[in-house]
Amino acid sequence: MSEEELTFWEKLARIDRRVFYWILFIGLMIPFIHPIVFPIAISPSTRDLYEGIKEMVEPGDVVVMNIAFGVDAWPECMPAFAACTKLLIKEGAKIIFWGAYYDVDMTYQEVLRRCEDYFKNLKYGEDYVYLGYYPYQEAAVAQLAASIRSIFKTDNYGTPLDEIPMMKNVDKATDIKLVLSGDTGDVCDYYIRQWRIPYGTPVAEIGIAMLGSSYMPYYRSGVLFGMSVGVRGGAELEKLIGEPAEATIRMGAINISHILVVIAVILANIGYFASRRK
């Protein structure tokens, strides 16, 4: 069929994919030049996460922040993770950071950088500690619940755990008030199976958006006490703690991109039905 014989919809269907890519990439930039701000409603799972932390954490409680996302997922996970870190510090929690991704060191540095104003008043070893990397294995997570010292003999900088003030009486899941797991994969499953169920330690998820679907049954059945879903969850948490930051700004780009995707789906289906009728 020659180019002239094609209908409008058929021509549209044959547009080079790169045209779409350029439209999308340029479209995503617009809100960063001219911000597009609309009110953000708080979802029940994010509110439960926020309120759960506020209700459960007393000053001095030890909390685990599990970094199970790589540097590549910062745009999605980091805003919510940083917001939760700020909230925990506000509540007076002592935080243990550790992670199941080999690039956890850089993510930890980034958390410190994003929450710089909060950490400057805290003392390493007394208010927070960084234990480093553990393998992405259910056995490792189960063993951390039984004895943190069997996996981490020292902190990330070589100091034995017994010489770190906030770790003196902390070795088991029962010594931990709650676990917040930032995920791109299924590490939170391990915490549910090896911490939440046998020891009763409350667990919440700070995951990429797809995990909002996968972990919904856990949240609905009360296994997870809260859940932040992707960058949207990050924006909601920023609103709840009263500090709009990266995720709030990025919702403008989410508006543009999501509208583009829906327009693409609608156009494609109109074209499909039009060509089918023909």
Binding site: Y102, F152, I208, S213
Partner: protein, 213 residues
């Protein structure tokens, strides 16, 4: 974060920006040597970081203190760990089955005991627990939808009986329920992918000082 001022960081920022453009030259233009250069840079750096952090430093951190205290039993997992590398030898690859046996055994044992309560028991309880007294019609509708929907969706995966007759109706409903679930999952996937890409678009502008850092 303020715009970096240290020369190494400013240089790093621009290197990062250029490498990003090199990678995007593939989808936005076509496969080219510049893209392959950036791709190989990533693999080289990533492999090194992975080895430093996992097999080398974390292993030393885990085994050196107990070994120095005379815990010679820690030699066993070290030997087993290195036995895994026999996977690279066609002749002796069977040796690697021993560490695999330990890993798989631990994985299955922990997984099997772990799924019983949160994945089965809690889900069944949550499905059949009716709304509290005084719940409205919407709550009851959601309860019935989730209860019947879950049963029908599970029936879709029951392959012992042919999906015909009453079973056929139930599994068809189950398939629709699954499609709704996958639709929501797709919606969330779009959020994730676009959040990632918007991060790059933002970085593109930040380096050029068009958007604030």
């Amino acid at each position: 974060m303020p715009y970096p001022t240290a020369p190494a960081d400013v240089f790093g920022l621009w290197v990062a920006w250029l490498l990003m453009l090199m990678i995007y030259s593939y989808p936005l233009y076509k496969e080219n040597p510049v893209f392959r250069f950036a791709e190989h840079t990533y693999i080289g750096v990533m492999l090194a970081i992975m080895l430093v952090r996992t097999s080398i430093t974390t292993t030393i951190n885990m085994v050196a203190p107990p070994l120095m205290k005379g815990r010679l039993d820690y030699i066993i997992p070290i030997v087993l760990g290195f036995m895994m590398y026999f996977l690279l030898s066609a002749r002796y690859r069977w040796i690697s089955r021993y560490p695999i046996a330990v890993l798989v055994g631990a994985g299955f044992g922990l997984g099997m005991r772990g799924v019983l309560i949160p994945n089965i028991l809690n889900q069944v309880i949550s499905t059949i627990t009716p709304p509290a007294t005084g719940a409205g019609a919407v709550d009851w509708w959601n309860y019935i939808y989730i209860a019947i929907g879950t049963i029908c969706a599970v029936m879709y995966f029951v392959l012992t009986w042919e999906h015909r007759g009453a079973m056929g109706y139930a599994t068809r409903l189950g398939r629709w329920i699954i499609m709704i679930g996958l639709g929501a999952y797709f919606g969330n996937t779009v959020l994730f992918r676009m959040a990632m890409l918007s991060g790059r678009a933002q970085f593109f502008l930040q380096v050029l000082k068009i958007a604030p850092m």
